[in-house]
Subunit: 152 residues, 3 copies
């Protein structure tokens, strides 16, 4: 485990509108506002798009993602971590549970999902930390790297 | 998307007791304490009540909610956004995943669910934002409206 | 319901690495840093371990936990509340939804689950509150107790 310490900065309340695509719309907002690192929560409806629901094989490298389509309006609850990639663009790694009619799929919203009717987001800025998403050769993922200060 | 900026205010740690009904008990607490806008997380057990698990038909307006009963003690993880309705009363829009025996239902706790044994809630007050839940004619829902300041 | 009021303290961004066991690794970090009370969110992958997926019988006391094994890499979204037990050690009560291939199990990570590839954690310290996990005779659980100040 690696860790770094920061503080809470600004807090934003976002209203997503029907058709807004997560996580893209939150990432663009973060970029406009100069939010580099943060934490987001999402409560609302999702009407379409695709979710990564795990790697096909847990041992294979790079992992091949399994994708499922969202069919029909789902109730969503999600949590994400925002951090800049190597180009300095804020990337929101957000996982969520999407439920409909008692069935739930849980996964990563990276491929993009579409807001149904309304989405409510709280976005916390975290300042004073040195973190980035850096491409990992083996997995092919942009993994969160954390700079521990005052070490060595 | 609409957005507004605020700050973190007070933070509350709540212990829900067996039989406490969510979201009502958290809304009453918010009202007593004068918390208008906020963010809540819920970790604990749920033993009864009903959950909205999506609209019956994704296109129909107003949407007809599908409800499922919670039968037996479930493990719950939930996230909610608190905002005042048009009467100024704080309304908690909270979505949660409820699991039992490897099955999970995810939905909105609006109809009310009952705490089983214990519920742990962190409630963050968010100050300096101008948001409200306003009744939308088409959907019949009280949708979050966000006042963007300094625009136009 | 019982409640107490505090403030946000330090904020930590944690990168969990492949094989790190939750919640133990977060609890050890909290102890090292002197974080007594807090709130954590978890986004990432889980590759093994066990999850408590409810009590076998909702009425029986003490409740007998049902456990399910995590088989294969799952996408995880979790939320936890950190509070000290009677020995003053920080204990993280974290519930999460674990998804794979469209199936989701939701439960308590107390028995320990293993990070697959990466876990991202935001840990908020909450200061100024008087809370503890105290063993409850009837349930056998360490239940969160909250000291309400200025009462009576």
């Amino acid at each position: 485990m690696k860790a770094c310490e920061g503080q809470i900065g600004r807090v934003f309340v976002l209203r997503l509108e029907d058709g807004d695509v997560v996580p893209g719309c939150i990432e663009r907002f973060a970029e406009e506002k100069g939010i580099s690192v943060g934490h987001a929560v999402l409560v609302g409806g999702i009407g379409g798009g695709e979710v990564v629901v795990g790697p096909r094989d847990s041992e294979e490298r790079p992992p091949q993602p399994m994708l499922l389509s969202v069919d029909g309006a789902h109730e969503v609850v999600g949590v994400g971590v925002l951090a800049p990639n190597e180009d300095g663009k804020p990337v929101l790694h957000i996982h969520a549970s999407l439920g409909r009619s008692g069935q739930t799929m849980t996964g990563c919203l990276r491929p993009g999902v579409t807001t149904w009717l309304v989405g409510e987001v709280i976005l916390y800025e975290i300042t004073g930390v040195d973190v980035a998403r850096v491409r990992d050769e083996e997995s092919g993922f942009e993994l969160l790297e954390v700079e521990e200060r005052g070490k060595d």
